[in-house]
């Protein structure tokens, strides 16, 4: 593989990353080629020693997802971290998928019920007093506030569990980086 081919395949694999990140990574590998050639190796040798660019790109994407997750915990960064992990395509990650999706389903259910209780609480709080509830208007207001409190609790639980889940996925992904030669393409001895 020539330098141009390697870089083209790497860049293709990095599509979807933020522009600055992808450019930074590309320049890392460009300078690796320059150093290698300066050290008297051929471009093909350097490319062979670097390994499969598609594979490297998948690991770099997983790492970028993990890094963004560690910087800001949002729904989109969580999705990025999880998708990056799945992108690694390791067999046991794929085996884990059904389990992961059922856990996600449970979390989503808790979140939805939290939101539903929140809406119900708001409704009871605002309009309850006008319908002559048993126990008087004050009881309706207190019930409304109580429901809203419960919903905040439920949503909070979802957030904490969700964060744990994504942290666990990131940890698991990092176990799967293939950092050593034998795990990459057959190598030309440089």
């Amino acid at each position: 593989m020539t330098r141009a081919e390697f870089m083209a395949r790497l860049k293709q694999g990095l599509v979807g990353l933020p522009m600055t990140t992808a450019a930074e990574i590309a320049s890392d590998y460009e300078s690796h080629f320059e150093d290698g050639v300066a050290a008297g190796r051929s471009e093909a040798e350097v490319a062979a020693a670097l390994g499969d660019p598609g594979r490297l790109a998948r690991e770099l994407r997983a790492e970028a997802g993990a890094r963004r997750w560690s910087q800001e915990q949002s729904a989109s960064s969580a999705a990025g971290a999880v998708l990056g992990t799945i992108g690694l395509g390791a067999l046991d990650i794929l085996v884990l998928l059904p389990f992961l999706s059922s856990v996600l389903g449970v979390l989503l259910a808790i979140l939805m019920s939290g939101i539903a209780v929140f809406v119900a609480g708001g409704f009871v709080l605002v309009s309850g007093p006008f319908f002559g509830p048993p126990g008087g208007a004050l009881a309706a207001i207190l019930l409304g506030i109580g429901l809203i409190g419960l919903s905040v609790f439920l949503i909070g639980i979802t957030a904490i569990l969700g964060k744990w889940l994504v942290d666990a996925v990131v940890w698991f992904a990092r176990l799967h980086y293939r950092v050593l030669k034998p795990a990459l393409e057959p190598q030309v001895q440089a």
Binding site: G51, L56, L180
Partner: protein, 121 residues
């Protein structure tokens, strides 16, 4: 996908090796990669995912050095957290290596020994 114990072992000490190299002196990725590629068969390309990971874990930080020929070069240096991690991982490694060596190097016990001898202790 089965991986040999050798690969798992090398994977485990890779971070430690990079930390130790950078503790000796600041370095750039190509140099780290070629050192470790010779020493422990690391795939050269994976130095970059690894360095990015160590950077996001704040074990290393980068700075640019102008070079006479060509564009400026990105150097890595240890952070305080990186030095802490190096100390911790070094002592972990030493303890592990000592334990394995004491088992591997234990002299063979005489056949039909009457009682168990704690040779490995």
């Amino acid at each position: 996908m089965p991986e040999t114990i050798e690969i798992q072992l090398k994977k485990g000490v890779l971070t430690l090796c990079v930390l130790a190299l950078l503790n000796r002196r600041d370095s750039y990725a190509y140099e780290i990669a070629s050192t470790l590629s010779d020493a422990i068969d690391m795939g050269e390309g994976t130095i970059y995912p690894l360095m990015r990971r160590m950077q996001s874990d704040r074990l290393v930080e980068t700075y640019l050095v102008e070079s006479a020929a060509g564009p400026s070069r990105k150097y890595y240096r240890l952070t305080d957290a990186g030095r802490g991690a190096l100390d911790a991982q070094t002592s972990e490694w030493r303890a592990f290596a000592r334990a394995v060596e004491s088992i591997v190097d234990a002299p063979a016990e005489p056949v039909a020994a009457p009682a168990e001898e704690g040779a490995a202790q």
